[in-house]
Structure formats: structure tokens, C-alpha cells
Symmetry: C2
Subunit: 119 residues, 2 copies
């Protein structure tokens, strides 16, 4: 998780508000693998540069479960979240929307991004 190159924390800009897309980000993360709450918080922290507080994260997870996008099982003290079939479809649909909405931004800055990763 932090072996590859740099465990850089992507610090958010101060110039404008970058909030939003929390439940979308969670859906997307869970397409990778099942996770428990703290793992989800870790992954979000790594990407967004800020770790969601419990008071933000758990209500979002509860809402996703209530709407049938995720289901949970208990393992020790951990509660493991997993996409339902519906949740997987939701993730697919919302990822496509996201790409259509914001794709241009990446086509401009994506090259720099890749250069950094490879280098």
C-alpha cells in the first residue's frame, strides 16, 4: 500500500471547495475489493488527502446499505462492506457519468499525472 514509490498524501487545495462525491467514491472503492470502515477511510485519505471523520463516513455507509448498494458481514470487530449486485451496477453507471462529466479535465492534466507515476 505504501511500498511502491511515495506514500504521498495528496493535499487538497485551499482555493476552492473540493467536498462531495463521498458515496460515489465509496462505491468505486468497493468495486476493487471488500473493505471494512477503517480501510475505506484509509483509501479515501490517501487519494483525497483528508481522512473522512467517523461522523461523515459511517452515516454514508449506513445510507448505502439502506439503499441496497452494499451489504455487510461481521469479522471479529470489523464490519466488512461489500457491493451488492445492484451496488455494482450503480458503481458502473455513476463512474460512466463521472467520466462524461469531468473527462475533459483529465485529458488535459492526465499526461502530467502519468509522467509522475512512471518516473
Amino acid at each position: 500500500m505504501s511500498e511502491d514509490c511515495c506514500d504521498n498524501t495528496n493535499t487538497p487545495p485551499t482555493c476552492c471547495d473540493m467536498r462531495g462525491l463521498l458515496s460515489f467514491s465509496i462505491l468505486w472503492l468497493l468495486t476493487k475489493r471488500d473493505m471494512y470502515g477503517q480501510e475505506i477511510a484509509d483509501e479515501l485519505a490517501q487519494r483525497r488527502g483528508t481522512r473522512p471523520n467517523p461522523g461523515t463516513l459511517y452515516p454514508a455507509l449506513a445510507e448505502l446499505e439502506k439503499r441496497g448498494h452494499v451489504e455487510t458481514r461481521k469479522e471479529g470487530r470489523k464490519k466488512i462492506y461489500r457491493l451488492t449486485e445492484q451496488g455494482r451496477e450503480s458503481a458502473r453507471v455513476s463512474c460512466e457519468y463521472f467520466c462524461r462529466a469531468y473527462g475533459e479535465i483529465f485529458q488535459e492534466h492526465g499526461s502530467e499525472q502519468k509522467a509522475k507515476v512512471v518516473q
Copy 2:
């Protein structure tokens, strides 16, 4: 603007909340060219599938101006918004943050996206 292939309106998903990033999106749009309010609303509508209401858009623009990211001039009844130097730098910084935070999503779905555009 609507000549190329399809003036598709990118309909947002119902499964999760896609709100947010309004002021960021505005900053990014204004790197392309100066625009007045309704133009900005049009561009946002095209990409996000929903047109921001005046009650959303104008306070956001006022805030960006107050913080020194944009400046305005009047042309007829139109008020034209233009990035300041600081605003241009802010756009750059926040775009880079955005790409680091969400780039992975595009690397997965970007190919489908391009295929659609080319086809």
C-alpha cells in the same frame, strides 16, 4: 457547440449524490475562455446534465470574485467573468489535485469514453 455528433445531455445517476465541485468546475471552465453567467450555466448543464439554478450559480461566482479568483466587466447586460492571475494558478493547482484524487477512475473508464467519442 452542438454540431459535432450528439448534443447529449449527460444525465446524472440516481444512485448516489453527485453534487459538489461547482466552484472548481467554474474555475476550470474559465481557463478556456471568458464567459458570462448564462454561458457558464450552459457549459455546466452540458457536462453535468443539470443546469445550476441562479440561486446556486451566482453566489458561487460572487464568492470566487470576493476571493480574487475572477474579475468581471460589463458588456451590455452581460457580466463577463474572467480569471485573475491568482485564479489561473488556483485552477491549475486544483486541477492537479483533482486528477491525483480521481485519476484512477478515469484510467479504467477512459477507454470506453474515448471509444464512444471516436466512433
